[in-house]
C-alpha cells in the first residue's frame, strides 16, 4: 500500500513507521537484514496498514520478556528523531508545546487515518503550566508503554524542561503528566 491508500481501514503515515523502525535500529534492538526488512519499501509520504506497525512492535515484544521499558525508550527515541530530523522543531518550541499539539488529537490525527472507532484519539484533556500538570487521554491502538515514551520524548526534545514524569500505571489510557 502506498500514498493513495484509502482510509477505509486503519492506516499509518509512512514517516511514523519509518521513525519507529529507525528508533529500533538506533537502540540496537534489531540489526542486519532484520533491520533492512523493517525499513525497506516504506515511503515516508505513503500510508500503510496499521499491521505494518504491529509487525515492528512484535520484533520488540517477541525478543524482550519485559518489553515495557524498551517500548517506552523506543517512543522517546522516535520523538527525538521527529524533533531533530522531522517537522518537530517547527511545531514545538518548548516542552509544553508538545502537549498543546495534542489538543483535539491534532498531532495523532496527522499520522493515523481510518474509521473513527479504530483510530481512537490521543487528546490533551488539560494542561496547567503553573502547577506543571497535564493529562492526556488515549484510546488509540498504539502500545501504551510506547505512548508514554512518545510523551516523554516529545516534551524532552526542546531541552527546556528540568523534570518530566508521565504515569499511566493505574489506567493505561490516562497519562498523568508532571513537568517543571
Amino acid at each position: 500500500m502506498g500514498k493513495d491508500s484509502k482510509a477505509s481501514e486503519l492506516v499509518v503515515f509512512g514517516a511514523t513507521i519509518q521513525g519507529y523502525a529507525q528508533a529500533c535500529i538506533n537502540l540496537n534492538i534489531v540489526a542486519g537484514s532484520k533491520a533492512e526488512n523493517l525499513i525497506g519499501e516504506i515511503e515516508v509520504t505513503g500510508w500503510y496498514p496499521f499491521e505494518k506497525l504491529r509487525e515492528i512492535e512484535r520484533v520488540v515484544t517477541e525478543a524482550y520478556e519485559n518489553a515495557g521499558p524498551i517500548l517506552e525508550r523506543v517512543g522517546m527515541e522516535m520523538m527525538l528523531g521527529w524533533y531533530h530530523y522531522g517537522p518537530g522543531k517547527e511545531i514545538v518550541k518548548r516542552g509544553v508545546d508538545f502537549l498543546y499539539f495534542q489538543t483535539g488529537s491534532q498531532g495523532y490525527a496527522s499520522v493515523v487515518k481510518g474509521p473513527q472507532e479504530l483510530v481512537g484519539s490521543f487528546n490533551l484533556e488539560f494542561v496547567d503550566e503553573q502547577k506543571g500538570r497535564a493529562r492526556i487521554n488515549s484510546t488509540t491502538p498504539f502500545n501504551k508503554d510506547q505512548e508514554r515514551g512518545v510523551i516523554i520524548g516529545g516534551m524532552s526534545a526542546p531541552g527546556d524542561l528540568d523534570y518530566i514524569d508521565v504515569k499511566n500505571q493505574e489506567n493505561p489510557q490516562i497519562f498523568e503528566i508532571e513537568f517543571a
Binding site: D162, Y163, A180
Partner: protein, 307 residues
C-alpha cells in the same frame, strides 16, 4: 555567581551562593535526573535480561549444532569406510601379471578420485582412473554410480572406446542432472599391447628408453555426447605405465608455483628401474615437500608388466 557557573566550578555552594529560584531549579533538575535514572535503570534491566536470554538461546543453538555436527561426522566416517571398501584389491591374476602400486588420498573423508581394476569380457586386464568434479559426498555418490556402470558393461565389451562411450552415453543425462562430470583414463591390456581412452586424465608409458604421454584429447564423462578416440601402444614385459589425476601435478607452493606434469613425469622416468612401490613413494615424498597444502584428491597408480 550564577548556578551554571557554580556547577562549572565544582565547588559545593553555601546558602548565600544561590538564590531561592536557583535552589528550586536545582531541586527540579535533581528530580528530573532521578526520573531519568529510573527510566534508564528499567531500560537497562530489560536489556540485560534480554541479553541473558539471548546467551541461553545461543548456548542451546551451540549444543544443537554440536549434536548435528557429530551426526554428520559419524555419517562421513561410515561413508569413508564404504568408499574405501569400494576401491578394489588387486585381483590375483592381475597381481601375477603386473607389479602395481597406488597412492590414493581423498582431501576430505570422502572424495571424487576413483580408480578401479576390471576384467573385460575377453579376459583382458582393464584399469580405470577417474576424477569426479567437486569433492565430498556428492562426488563419492557419483563414483559409486560410475563403478556400477563400468562393472555392467565390461561383461559384454572389450574395446576401451566402446566401453567409455557406452558409459558416457548412459550416464550423460544423470551427470547433467546432478551437474557433475568426470575425467576418464581407461586402459585395456592384452599380451602385447595396451589400448587407452583418455578424457582429461594423465598417462605415461615407459618402454625401454622411450616414453609416451597419453593423448588426452577427449571430453570428460558427462560433458558432451561425442565419440571417444582409442589409441594403441605396444606393451611388453618390463614396460612401466603411470596413470594419475591432477591432484599432484596441480599442487602449488606458497608462491603459487605449479608442481607440473613435467616434474612428475621426469621423476618417474629417472626412477623407472626402481620397484613401482618405491617410485610411488618417491613421487609422494617429492610432492609433499613441494606443495604448501593438499588442495585436491590424489590418485597415482604405477604398474610394470611382469610377463
Amino acid at each position: 555567581m550564577s548556578l551554571d557557573e557554580l556547577l562549572e566550578s565544582g565547588n559545593v555552594p553555601t546558602k548565600g551562593d544561590v538564590t531561592e529560584e536557583e535552589l528550586a531549579k536545582l531541586f527540579r533538575k535533581f528530580r528530573g535526573l532521578q526520573k531519568k535514572q529510573e527510566r534508564d535503570q528499567a531500560f537497562w534491566a530489560a536489556t540485560n535480561e534480554n541479553l541473558k536470554t539471548a546467551y541461553e538461546k545461543l548456548d542451546e543453538k551451540d549444543r544443537e549444532l554440536a549434536r548435528a555436527y557429530a551426526i554428520i561426522q559419524d555419517d562421513l566416517s561410515v561413508a569413508s569406510k564404504i568408499q574405501g571398501a569400494l576401491l578394489p584389491e588387486l585381483p590375483g591374476k592381475m597381481a601375477s601379471d603386473l607389479e602395481l602400486a597406488v597412492y590414493h588420498k581423498q582431501l576430505a573423508e570422502v572424495g571424487g578420485d576413483y580408480y578401479d581394476f576390471f576384467k573385460t569380457c575377453s579376459g583382458n586386464h582393464a584399469i580405470g582412473v577417474f576424477d569426479i568434479s567437486g569433492h565430498g559426498v556428492s562426488a563419492a555418490l557419483v563414483m559409486t554410480y560410475l563403478k556400477a556402470q563400468f562393472m555392467t558393461i565390461l561383461e559384454t565389451l572389450d574395446s576401451p572406446k566402446a566401453i567409455v562411450e557406452w558409459v558416457n552415453s548412459t550416464s550423460y543425462d544423470f551427470l547433467k542432472t546432478v551437474k557433475k562430470y568426470a575425467t576418464v583414463n581407461f586402459v585395456v591390456m592384452n599380451a602385447t599391447a595396451l589400448r587407452y581412452v583418455s578424457g582429461g586424465g594423465f598417462g605415461l608409458l615407459l618402454s625401454g628408453k622411450n616414453s609416451t604421454v597419453f593423448q588426452k584429447r577427449d571430453s570428460f564423462l558427462g560433458l558432451r555426447r561425442r565419440p571417444f578416440h582409442e589409441h594403441e601402444l605396444p606393451f611388453k614385459k618390463g614396460d612401466l605405465l603411470a596413470m594419475y589425476t591432477d591432484g599432484i601435478v596441480e599442487a602449488q607452493t606458497d608462491k603459487g608455483d605449479d608442481y607440473s606434469v613435467q616434474r612428475l613425469n621426469d621423476l618417474i622416468i629417472r626412477n623407472a628401474k626402481e620397484p613401482v612401490k618405491d617410485i610411488v613413494d618417491l613421487c609422494v615424498k617429492d610432492y609433499t615437500k613441494f606443495r604448501s597444502k593438499d588442495s585436491d584428491d590424489i590418485t597415482l597408480l604405477i604398474l610394470r608388466k611382469k610377463v
